[in-house]
Each structure stands twice: as structure tokens, then as C-alpha cells.
Chain length 117, copies 4
Amino acid sequence: MTQDTLSDLTQRLRQFAAERDWERFHTPKNLAMALTGEAGELAAEFQWLTEAESQDLDPARMARVQQEAADVLLYLVRLADKLGFDLLEAARLKIEHNARNYPAEQVRGSARKYNEY
Amino acid sequence: MTQDTLSDLTQRLRQFAAERDWERFHTPKNLAMALTGEAGELAAEFQWLTEAESQDLDPARMARVQQEAADVLLYLVRLADKLGFDLLEAARLKIEHNARNYPAEQVRGSARKYNEY
Amino acid sequence: MTQDTLSDLTQRLRQFAAERDWERFHTPKNLAMALTGEAGELAAEFQWLTEAESQDLDPARMARVQQEAADVLLYLVRLADKLGFDLLEAARLKIEHNARNYPAEQVRGSARKYNEY
Amino acid sequence: MTQDTLSDLTQRLRQFAAERDWERFHTPKNLAMALTGEAGELAAEFQWLTEAESQDLDPARMARVQQEAADVLLYLVRLADKLGFDLLEAARLKIEHNARNYPAEQVRGSARKYNEY
């Protein structure tokens, strides 16, 4: 397990963009748009697989999935950095929000009305 | 700055799904599909803004952006957990890959051919 | 079956935007971004359904799916109009392209390498 | 301007899938997922362009945009066919719905609250 943190990643991406003079392309609008492209590429890896097949990927597809998932994370980290918010804190708050909205004893086993975790 | 890590988040989401008996919905295929939905909602916050406006969000939109960004991260963390890979390690490798593919001295300031970071 | 055509739709959307002074928001970049949002909402309707369930939607979900599919089409028609190309002609050419790339006798029943229609 | 209609396209895609024995891959869930992938590829063509640049594409990008837009349409047509609804009728109803929700005299020039057409 890597000891990296999202903060390390944030710093590395900041430096990466600065070295290439790419900051001007990285507006929040553009980063959000780029993120949808990577999310689409990630989804494309699974589109013709059954749910069962998606749980047992061959090595080539697994490698591509990891790269696409990484791309999504990189744009997400960059977006949070440009907008100045703490991504992990936002995630923590969202889990608390979801826990209030989807009480375990009421939604157990059903994705009908409560179709997010 | 929160002291949480992606590992903490992974554990919390695992418990969250288990308490609700939602594991069976969380196949990699479904999680990747759910991620595109959240990425789309994130993009929708920016779609009619200019790039300049996207850098200076009003508080209500900023709050929604943080929630949508959190949703993307939660599904991404869940997907990596179900497939058994280390998301931060994948991100680290992808940055190295990008550094080789887009040498700073060659691509400085251009997004023409090198339109990813 | 409606007798409308995509040309009728194009005209109606042009008028719709003009009456509201929304042309300035409808740049190709913005329309493509809005389309990903609607595509994400469409996908969200199916994300926790099994493939079998997705073939037999309840009336409420069917109504939402039709609205989301319509939204995707509206943005697509608008995008083609703003860029000045014929969407149906582009589709016709793409089918011919696909027919050459995926000869029926070679790809029958396999989505392995030929994972597009 | 092509004389094709969406009905022609529907028929052609039905035949295309049948000849390749691909019907079994084309569940509504899978088609919706594939559509997000194509929408993401379409968005990717615009992600680093300014809004002004997106209105004046070079020929190579224009060709790619037309192909990606075609892919979105093909999956959308296929989805409507598999679910048995009339895509143009759904679009017509959605425009009427939007006209009621966004009266021209009230929303002219503003994308603030009324940020869809």
C-alpha cells in the first residue's frame, strides 16, 4: 500500500501543470469536462461485460481500468485544488449525509428508492 | 485539512454497503456506470458558465460542486476496492506515464497534440 | 408514429433558443458538455438494474428514460445545427464505416475485439 | 440534405445487430452505458478549446466530432428501439414541456435559474 496521500498527489499535479504552462487550460469548467471524458472511457471498459464478468477482469482490461480510474482521480484532485476545497473532507461530509438519508434499518437490501450508497 | 486517507474512506464505504446489504448492487460494472452519472452531474454545474465564471463560484454552486465531486470520489474508491487495486498507486503510475509522454520541454504551453496532463 | 423529422426539430430548437436569447449559451463546447450531463442522467436510470430488469421498465422509469433520451437528442440536434453538419448523414456514414470495420461473417456473436455495434 | 429518417436508421441498426448476433449485448442498460462513453468522447474533443474556438473547428476535429455525434445518435436510436418508444415523439413532448417551464418572456437572456432549453 502506497504511503502517498491526496495532498502529495495535489502537489505533484500542480508542479506538472506549471512545468508545462498548462495552468491556463485547467479552469474548473475544463477540468470537469475532461473528467466526464475519462469517466466515459472507464465505463466503456465495462459496457459489454455482464455484471459477473465485470468482477473478474482479464489482466489487459484490468490494466486499462486502473489507468482510466487514475485519470478520473487526477482530474478530480486537480479540480478540487483549483477550486480550493478539501476533497477528502467533502467525501467525509457526503458519507455522513448519505448515512442520515439512507438509515441502514430502513433501506436494507433495497435499491428501489434509496439508489445511492 | 482532514487527516483521513483513502484507506479510511475505503473502510467506511465497505461498512456502509454491508450495513445496508448493498454489496450485491456494487458490481464493478454498476459502479462504473454510477460514476458516469455523478461525473455528468458535476459537469452540469459548469455547463453554462464561462471559464472565468467557473473560477469564481457562488457559495450555493460551490456546495453542490463539492457534493458532486465527493460522489465521484466515493464511487471511484468503491470501484477500486471491489476490483482490489490501489487507487493512489494507480494515480502515481499514471503521472509517471504522463511525464514520459509529455516531456515538459517539448509540450510547454501547447494543448494541441498533448491535450492531457 | 410522428411525421416530424430531425429538420423540424432543428428549426423548433433554433426558434426556442432565439425567443429566449439563449443562443449565446449554446456554443458547441457548452452543448457537448450539457449532453454529457443528460447522458449521465439517462445512465443513472439503469445503474442498479440488472440487464434483464432494464428490458422491462416500470411506467414511471420508462417515462423518465424517454425524457432523458429526448434531452440527449435535443442537445445533439442543437450541436449539429450550430456546427452546420447533417446529423443523419453523419450517422449514415458511421454505419457504413462500422460495416467495413466489423464484417458480419468475422465478428458474429463476439464482442471481444469488436466491441461496438 | 439526406432524405433518411430516424425510422430508416432504426431499421438499418436492427439489421446490423442481427447480422452480427449482437442483439444479446444490446440490452437497454448496456446501450445507455455505451452512450455515456460516446458522449464522453464527444466532450473530449472540446475540453481544452475556448468557447470561441469550439465554434470554428479545424477539418480534422470537425470530422471526429461528426463521428462521435453519430455514435451518440446510433446508440440513442438503438436504445429507443429496444425499449419500444418513438424518439422524435419523446423529443417533441420534451420541447413542449420545456416551453411551459421556461416561458420566453420570463427567462429571456438568463441561464441562471433556467439553465436548460
